[in-house]
Amino acid sequence: MNTETFAENAKAALNDAQLRGALRKATTLFGIRRREAAASLSNWEDLRNEARAIKDDVLLHLDRYLEAFVSKAESRGAKVHWARDAAEANLIICRLSVERGARNVVKSKSMTTEEIHLNAALEGAGMRVVETDLGEYIIQLAGETPSHIIAPAIHKTKRQVAELFTTELGIPPTDDVGQLTSTARHTLRERFASADVGISGVNFGIAETGTIVIVENEGNIRMTTSLPRTHIAVMGIEKLLPRFADLDVFLKLLPRSGTGQALSTYQSFITGTKRNADDEGPDELHIILLDNGRSRMLAHPVTRQSLACIRCGACLNVCPVYQQIGGHAYGSVYPGPIGAVITPQLIGIEKAAQLPYASSLCGACREVCPVKIDIPRLLLHLRGEINQQRTNHRKERWAFRLWAAIMLRPWLYEKTAVAARLMQRWFGLPLQAWTSGRDLRPIEEESFREHWRRSR
């Protein structure tokens, strides 16, 4: 599946009853939990405003904050690498792994590494890569990609996971969740013990201290970043916060918006490498700062706010489109409303031209976004950009030119309405796309303006 076949992907998803059942259950539950968690804080709106102001400041002075972050992180023993795009990031990470003679790599959940398709690159370099987040582990076993930003296996039912574990891990059939998770835990513990390199993402990078902050619930990130001798953290350049104290705002917003938790189970704060050679923990910390299209988004005053996203996934859960078709249909790494905004900017508008239209513009995403990204406005902006490219929607463009010509002339508007009425009476209106699922309200014999004229 890819972004260019969105319409077909979506139709297939709509016909998948199991998928829709799983989606409905999960997105409803996420929605309820998020609402309750947000309501538990009386200053939720203030926090959102504060978070957005902090992100706006970061994005406006990103150069300065990046320099501060790099110099602090390196002064504490981390090594920072700059990657212009996915290829460069993968090259750096593979080189680091190969140079250390690594064979086994453990990974914790990271959308940024999905974005650059790191696993394929590492496997190409001869590494054995294991995802250690339970959801990611499930989809890795299934040979799939994540269908949600924070719940990668949201599309799978308990039964599907049980069957997968039976075929892939050879356990006797069971639908006992406890037994399934303990099987995964057992298998993954062995992988952790033999891993040479641990690769993680980053939720927040603190410019003031050079700290990277990662939140999780399973403890696998803690292990990924502490057991192997080398830790590589992949971080989008927009992930910065100026001060450690800013976490007060973001650690309230992120878990509540994502899973509906007051706080995630684990928050790891990693500042450089270990202080003494005898301490536990990795010998090396490498931080990959990834651009991959972000500076392009940053340059434009309208699209800049896309970079404020903290990847909580709340907009997916409330989106009526995502709720029906799930994440895979988008054909992109980032699905849902924010995916429809980010993807065209990351992979090029011509390759993802369908995604900005995959929205009814209902605004539910904007309403829940913890950093108040105006997603509908960004979708409209992108639709405009798509139409600027003369190769797109030729017929539609002419239709809207004609539409404007009619709407600018009331006499022509009335004549068109009369013509449409005649056509309706004689042939019916050619509105297959509408009438395939809905009856059409007929054009009335007398328009309002005719009535107004007559009754005045």
Binding site: P320, Y357, S360, F400, W403, L408, Y413, G437, F448
Partner: protein
Amino acid sequence: MKVSLFVTCLVDQLWSSVGTSCVAVLRRAGCEVEFDERQTCCGQPAFNTGYRDEARLVAKRFIEIFAESKAQAIVSPSGSCTAMVHHFAELFGDEPEWRERAAAIAARTHELSSFLVRVLGVDDVGASWQGRLTWHDACHGLRDLNIKSEPRKLIGNVRGAELVEIENAEACCGFGGTFSVKYPEISVAILDQKIEAIERANVQAVVSGDASCLMQIGGRLSRKGSKVRVMHLAELLNHR
């Protein structure tokens, strides 16, 4: 108060009784209503499909026509089209003069229920209707114009009407303008959730502030042979 009716092209051509009801309700609330026959569309279809040049032309014409009106308020039986007028300024990034004119028009433009309740302070227009009904929060009215309590207050005062809330009343009906024909299958799948909730609520009518959403909901109810009817708020408020 003198008001100018912005009837919307959809109501004008497809659902004129919403327009006539709107006029009657405004008059009952003490307004003098004018209707400028030069008006056509606010430009929303082009704006929402990404045709900014076309939307800008149509918006400018709208602004010119309504700027001539001496009416204190421009009132529309649509949250969506009212919201579009409130978005006009976004179209004029490089034209500060038009941005100002757009803002002046937006400040005078109100959706019907919010005009009655917020501007006139009227929450009872003496309507009556017998039966159980529910209110569908149309997205743009709800999220762009913050209209939520106003229609409920008005409906609460309709004699004989019992207002019940459906599950996820705030969820989109799946219309979304061109979305409904670009991705009809997704649009109808979203719509079916709404229909399910309506059917569970055991109501006789679904009332909303936007003809577009009601055409979407009504079109599916009719296709499914449901007895539930759709009604615009203006029609309900004009029922006696």
